[in-house]
Subunit: 438 residues, 3 copies
Amino acid sequence: MSLELAERIYEQLSQIRLIDPHTHINALKPASETLSDILGYHYYTELAHSAGAQREVIEQPDLDPKEKVAVLFANTHNLDNTVQFSWFVEMARELFDFQEPTVDANNWESLYDRALELMQGENWTQTVMDKSKLDAVFLTNDFDDPLAGFDTNVFVPCLRTDDLVFHLNKESVQERLNNAVTVEISNAASLRKALSQLFDKFCSQGARACAISLPPDFAPMKISDRRADSAIAAVLSDGADVAENHKRAAANFVFWTLAEFCHEYELPFDLMIGVNRNVYPGGVHQGRDLFDSRVSLIQYRELFNAFPSVKFPVSVLASVTNQELVSYAWIFPNVYTHGHWWYSNIPTYVQQDATARLEALPRNKQIGYYSDMYKLEFALPKFNMYKQILSRILAERFVIDRRWSEEQAIALGKQNLRGNVEAIFLGNNPEEGFLLVD
Amino acid sequence: MSLELAERIYEQLSQIRLIDPHTHINALKPASETLSDILGYHYYTELAHSAGAQREVIEQPDLDPKEKVAVLFANTHNLDNTVQFSWFVEMARELFDFQEPTVDANNWESLYDRALELMQGENWTQTVMDKSKLDAVFLTNDFDDPLAGFDTNVFVPCLRTDDLVFHLNKESVQERLNNAVTVEISNAASLRKALSQLFDKFCSQGARACAISLPPDFAPMKISDRRADSAIAAVLSDGADVAENHKRAAANFVFWTLAEFCHEYELPFDLMIGVNRNVYPGGVHQGRDLFDSRVSLIQYRELFNAFPSVKFPVSVLASVTNQELVSYAWIFPNVYTHGHWWYSNIPTYVQQDATARLEALPRNKQIGYYSDMYKLEFALPKFNMYKQILSRILAERFVIDRRWSEEQAIALGKQNLRGNVEAIFLGNNPEEGFLLVD
Amino acid sequence: MSLELAERIYEQLSQIRLIDPHTHINALKPASETLSDILGYHYYTELAHSAGAQREVIEQPDLDPKEKVAVLFANTHNLDNTVQFSWFVEMARELFDFQEPTVDANNWESLYDRALELMQGENWTQTVMDKSKLDAVFLTNDFDDPLAGFDTNVFVPCLRTDDLVFHLNKESVQERLNNAVTVEISNAASLRKALSQLFDKFCSQGARACAISLPPDFAPMKISDRRADSAIAAVLSDGADVAENHKRAAANFVFWTLAEFCHEYELPFDLMIGVNRNVYPGGVHQGRDLFDSRVSLIQYRELFNAFPSVKFPVSVLASVTNQELVSYAWIFPNVYTHGHWWYSNIPTYVQQDATARLEALPRNKQIGYYSDMYKLEFALPKFNMYKQILSRILAERFVIDRRWSEEQAIALGKQNLRGNVEAIFLGNNPEEGFLLVD
């Protein structure tokens, strides 16, 4: 009974058009050009590497795309159980008309050729957007991204700020910043002015969010301008050798100033909390980061209190932090739960975490899902996975356990998937958000 | 099959009369006088605030109860998915004969009037007790509560000690303590004597537990009288300015002395571990506390070892601490699992946590549930939620997976809900505890 | 539907013969001699103690085995709900032909006598191995174990190293080490030589793993020989009074050197992370250890990077660490998930943790289960519990949700239960691992 019910709800949720509120899409090349763009996604290379493939083999330079896919398929036989691989199979079926039960070293080539043909056809990007029912995707733009050459209503700019907060001591970042603004940076005042220019530019180009990923030991605090002056001077002059206390003070100053501009420019500030970068330097590209689950949102207490009018959509990397996230979003009006990030984006944890949110949080305080994708093709299987889980929760916990009507359950699902994205990032009426898509 | 089985078990568990081992009931006004007493519960005000309602609107002074309910219903449309709101709807149905599928801004007024009529009727308290099958509820009494004017067999006193342990530096607490005892407090010896007078009074008035809520960073340790002397002197003289080390030493001295008296007076010592107070000062009344899930029961190692004959019913605020709680109760004879507290009292976490307890702990080491309620009407939906979850666990994990008879499963459920409360707090025979209720 | 499907998968998984990759079996006395050897297992004594039985009663000396079992059965009535007790009932049924629905104080004696008769029969060990479908079990050998008198293909040696790393300051350990090697230990060089002799001996006797259990605050790091020299000198001379910093440096030196030899001798290094020893000194034998769930695999970052060719099968004591374990095994080629340890070996946590592993990790990176048993009889019910859970996950998550064939699901289960043990510990071809058992 509950399986059929969940299936009916899933069918309804599959009707709605989506806005994906966090991706790494390159707006100038949103879709894949060969299957290598898909299978080269770090989820596959890092899992193949974990399962035994040498990094040197996977990442050998000068490999043409088809050879690269051949190499990867020689190393995916140990991944066929993973949900990550199931996304690939679903893409093959739904986007490339692949009919065989699975894809492996024996049959990938026909898939490759068929995909290539489709990708080289006209309007492949639009075809993927249509098949995936995507209206728009949020980008992750470097602060010096020109933001030119694409429709910002479809590819929505988002100011990513990790470099500004954590890597201002790097010469390359300083140079990029100098090129992006008209002010010479030397102290708190000039850095603040530079940041305001970035916000000016991004907001004038339709940016809808500021975003950052944060290590588990980061605990934002307000820094005086005077302390910031010396910290910034040290960061600018000492580069890689900058003292840890100065680096941290400068990071805190920049972070806090970003929050101030989010307030001023009315931009939501996406916090992605918990990642330790480069834990495994021997890993494949983008397959080197991990985490420490000993993190608490109490570290953000001062921030959440200081900026009541800034919306903070918060992602946590560890599922064990989800209950804190639910509780902080339950108490703080400016804290929202945001999707299921990275290592928590597998069904076991998505189900546990999403259920707690749907049970305990106001329906307008939760943004159901984002794909985090690098290429457009991934939205379809990732959102489908979430919709399957969401449908089952709605069926079992709401329709069966709490005797809701199917219509009520579907309305909650639509708000979770789309309405709240509109309300929180685009400022549309939260009550009517999900009606727009009917 | 399993749904029907769970339903049959639920019916049986619904027959038993309950003792609620932890509430905040005011014994002189146990039931609500208007619907405002129910909807004014912090769960609703804080969720409405979280969903966007201004605190100034929710908490405007001089609002009459009906106006207050009107204001709240103008702000509950975003809460209808929450389990907390489902408790309200269940109260409306079961206690106030409300027949419509949900309660909202359009139909609350007839409910308000009907509830008022019932609450003003004779014996409303007794009616609620009867409908909820409540035999008794434990109170949470301030140390200077007169404990007069009610039947302590029905409203069972419990000495709450947060103020004594953590706020002895406040002048108001010192004054209240001076008024409550006959001894002048100046050092360890006189403070110990004062505490003994409180235990004398509470125990002579039928108190059945001592209780305290504890922040995540608290780690009890024994303090010498000499160290305590200086700490107490500082706490008494320096008030709000007292040095942190003195405040902490005094807290440890008081806490440890309470445990000594729990031993001497044979009172269980309820520990509610993990709360950070006033994390969000801008929140509504009682909607300001949160937690840090980085807490471990290893912090209580010395305490559990030092007091083998004191029973410690332990509640944890974070579900991620539940496995530690299960393991400590599995090893320490004096540690008991106690209910599902606050942010962990939502179905996802209750189910996960209760299942682990039922699978791994002796059946006499676990106290299934308490309501934590401020008004009597809440016992019914909260206990029903727990009974639904418990019934499903008994059906799936015991009757189906382990081939228990329904009778065995029901007996386990009864012991969990009632028998162990009697055994642990009232000293009744644990084996016969649940037989008393047939 | 899913129950029947899971049942069919379970039947298939029950056909395979097992290798148990972690036990505490005494190879010279692998099976029980009386029921007291089974019921004397710490799981029962500690739970009986937790439920109220006095340690002095449970552990009274000079009790003959039957009297001891009588004493224990007088104290097991509170344990009948636990999964641990269900293992006992299953042993009674499957190994001792016991037909009654449960075992308790009224009917244990006939079980005792029947078990005694069977245990005294010829080939009881082989009978248990056959009924349990065990091909081999890994041992946990002290570094000075003679490793003589048994078939090391069936009872596979494993070098347990807790004493060397954490207790080298104890005179008894120093003596045992001096007797086990031919070198006089005084500094880093001589200790390294001594360890190499132990590896020589163990590997020549067929050892297949090095193993250690680790406290939550341990964070391995490389120590220079010079620092190690002074630390070892202090540990050897100061015994119980050795300074903490020296003790820790010596522990780090020994641990790191063990990893170096695991590399050199190609031995997997089993890490069992998270235990705090002797938290409850008043507990029964082996019922005194607990944990602190505030541990992170980030503590092992340096180790995992330094030894890319050493296989690290990792067990974590706290289920809340499982997501980190999954993520580290997902990224690091040399990290494997290993079974469900101790306080995490109850169905709730096994199901949650195993599901995440099966969904997110390459199929060859996970070792499904080990029994951790002290007597052979325990393998049967413990593995059956795991197989039940595994079958259900395969049925629901793979066959139903992802439309796998039953054959595919069963193949994954076989690899998880057996194939990967062969591949990781015995060096058999991982792809063919599970084929060997057909």
